[in-house]
């Protein structure tokens, strides 16, 4: 019954998605910011951040063509405000995507969706100059998973969500657990029974409730394919995730599978004390979904619409305020940044929108919510073409009414590639 509902909704959603996406030259999906970090990371930056680290996809013919971690000065009091301080190339191009801090915030783990490699950057010795200190190469051999996506700090270890697998490169995947030294510990397959579709994307925990939530996207065969081709392939378009899973965090066992049609992506728990709900956005169906606890059971329900779903605006990233009262949503296709009032998470209301780029992907906010950062790239083969292929990091000031541009770094002009995931840094976090 459960699975039947999922299938029905997906079939209804995808033809419209295919139609709209096919009319675009190119398009695409993405996690970010100070309010989205693992709760096990205690060193949050609650004042002015000094740096933004951008994990950029290499582009052939641009700079060295390799994926790289770019450090940008974002402290308005600095003489080099809005400037690139440096970059660390990993020497290969592997569809750089996401990254995450270790629980001590001394290291960033980052990876690409085209390979199983995980790159470990030391940001503790000198937060202004990250250094590549290790490459973890055994994820495929040890877990069978490909395309490490989310890097979620657990005490003394990192839980890595894969998007695909090495066997058939479909979306059937799982999570790999490493200790902070980079030694593989265990793997956990996404459930394929009781309504589970086996797909993975993001993960986020509520330790007070012993709950791990996971979402679902698609596999290598789809996300590495040019979008124009993909959307014409009806069979391939059926191969997107339509579920979220609530896990017993302690036992690392799936407990409940929710039907959430249309590729639910980023997951954000409300950080407000006493709140026990999380929110996500579905890429293909353009909805906000609320996952909450009620009478000891977890439920998922659709609570809002993002833009006009018929036009497939493609929500790709969300960023929640630290008090859980507001949510930024970036939609890739129309390059729009929307703000939803989450005072009642059961009924979010859009109160603001602004076109912030020809294509926009990740969105991050400072702890106080006064600064908002946006990047442009979704996936190499899904980004738009020609003049629409802007590649940037843009800074904005938010006064509660208007997003005002503060600085911009043009990643193409700077020979840096495609700007994707962001993490905030501070010189005060230098290891002693």
């Amino acid at each position: 019954m459960h699975r039947r509902i999922v299938g029905l909704v997906l079939r209804a959603a995808l033809p419209a998605a295919a139609l709209v996406l096919a009319s675009m030259t190119t398009a695409g999906v993405a996690v970010a910011d100070e309010t989205c970090n693992s709760p096990y990371i205690a060193k949050l930056i609650k004042g002015q951040e000094d740096y933004i680290y951008v994990w950029a996809l290499g582009v052939e013919g641009v700079g060295d063509g390799s994926d790289k971690l770019v450090t940008i000065d974002v402290n308005p009091k600095s003489k080099t405000y809005g400037k690139v301080l440096g970059s660390v190339s990993v020497g290969t191009r592997g569809e750089a995507h996401h990254m995450g801090f270790t629980d001590d915030r001394r290291y960033i783990w980052a990876g690409g969706l085209a390979e199983p490699n995980i790159y470990v950057f030391d940001i503790g010795k000198d937060p202004a100059k990250p250094a590549l200190v290790k490459t973890i190469k055994d994820m495929a051999d040890k877990s069978g998973y490909l395309g490490p996506h989310t890097y979620y700090a657990m005490p003394g270890r990192m839980l890595v969500q894969g998007l695909s697998n090495t066997k058939d490169k479909s979306g059937i995947t799982g999570m790999a657990l490493y200790n902070n030294k980079g030694d593989f510990i265990a793997s956990y397959p996404m459930p394929t029974d009781n309504g589970g579709d086996g797909y993975g994307y993001d993960l986020a925990v509520n330790p007070k409730r012993n709950v791990l939530l996971t979402s679902s996207f698609t596999g290598y065969n789809n996300y590495m394919r040019p979008l124009g081709d993909l959307v014409k392939d009806a069979e391939a378009m059926k191969k997107f995730g339509n579920t979220m899973v609530a896990w017993d965090l302690k036992a690392m066992k799936p407990k409940q599978v929710f039907a959430v049609p249309g590729a639910p992506l980023e997951i954000r728990w409300s950080l407000k004390a006493g709140d026990n709900w999380a929110i996500t956005a579905t890429a293909l169906t353009s909805k906000l979904w609320l996952v909450k606890e009620s009478k000891g059971e977890w439920t998922a329900k659709e609570v809002a619409t993002i833009g006009d779903p018929a036009k497939i605006p493609l929500p790709v990233d969300i960023s929640i305020r630290r008090d859980g009262k507001g949510l930024w949503v970036n939609t890739f296709m129309d390059g729009t940044t929307r703000y939803f009032d989450l005072s009642n998470p059961e009924a979010p209301k859009q109160t603001y929108e602004k076109v912030t780029g020809k294509q926009v992907n990740m969105i991050s906010q400072s702890w106080d919510g006064k600064r908002v950062y946006i990047t442009s790239s979704l996936l190499a083969n899904w980004d738009k073409g020609g003049a629409d292929n802007e590649q940037f990091l843009r800074g904005f000031a938010w006064d509660g009414k208007e997003l005002k541009p503060t600085f911009e770094v043009d990643f193409t002009k700077e020979n840096l590639g495609r700007a994707h995931h962001m993490k905030l840094g501070s010189r005060s976090l230098k290891s002693s």
Binding site: Y40, D104, P155, G156, R157, K250
Partner: protein
């Protein structure tokens, strides 16, 4: 399917009755934050081997030198880093309260007697001398006769401490709090408590978000049920 050995362990622990669950009537435990979820039953989940516990030179309360490895093997060990002047309620004092509760539960549980030890290791060698640590430990210090050994260690220097904190992944940074008038040296750290199996492998790392006597006792029971 559980092994016969595991079944025996379960029976033994079950016979200990409610002693495994810290009773609400205890004044100390009333101050602990409540556990907001029903933890999975012991033995129904796996505690992964996260990493080998590091070894190094430590000083006991009597000022004598020991290898830490002697106190992280052969019994199940619950180890926490503290510094005695810590006042962060979510930090060392929380760990201490949980350890106090654990000690009482262990004393009251015959099935666990002699099978579990507690270790408190200071990461402030400059101030936490053996004498300072002795005052801090008070009556808690190891009493093998009760069947529950609680050891307190410090180190001679930052040089001896570093490989231990690095090995455990216990991040520590020195900061100065100037808000209270006189500058106060503080050790900024994320609370971590380590559960170590008899072979010396770290099997769980608790943060303040889920450090609770009940979860630790369940995990101890789970380890005891292993082959």
């Amino acid at each position: 399917m559980r092994s016969a050995k595991a079944e025996l362990a379960l029976v033994a622990l079950a016979s200990a009755g409610a002693a495994l669950a810290p009773g609400p009537s205890r004044a100390h435990e009333a101050a602990l934050p409540p556990l907001e979820f029903e933890p999975p039953a012991p033995g129904t989940y796996t505690l992964q081997r996260i990493m080998p516990a590091p070894d190094g030179e430590v000083l006991g309360l009597d000022g004598h030198s020991h290898r830490l490895a002697r106190f992280t093997h052969d019994r199940i060990t619950v180890l926490g880093f503290v510094y005695t002047t810590c006042i962060d309620p979510e930090g060392c004092p929380l760990a201490q309260r949980v350890f106090d509760s654990l000690q009482r539960s262990l004393v009251e549980t015959p099935a666990l007697r002699g099978r579990v030890r507690l270790v408190t290791l200071s990461f402030d060698p400059a101030r936490d001398t053996p004498a300072a640590l002795r005052a801090y430990a008070g009556h808690r210090a190891a009493d093998e006769r009760s069947g529950v050994a609680w050891y307190f260690f410090t180190t001679r220097s930052a040089r001896e401490l570093t490989p231990l904190v690095e090995g455990f992944g216990q991040d520590v940074r020195v900061s100065v709090d100037r808000l209270g008038g006189l500058p106060r040296r503080e050790l900024s750290h994320v609370l971590k408590v380590f559960l170590i199996d008899r072979a010396g492998f770290v099997r769980e790392i608790y943060s303040s978000l889920f450090l609770h006597p009940q979860t630790v006792l369940n995990d101890i029971e789970t380890l005891l049920m292993e082959q």
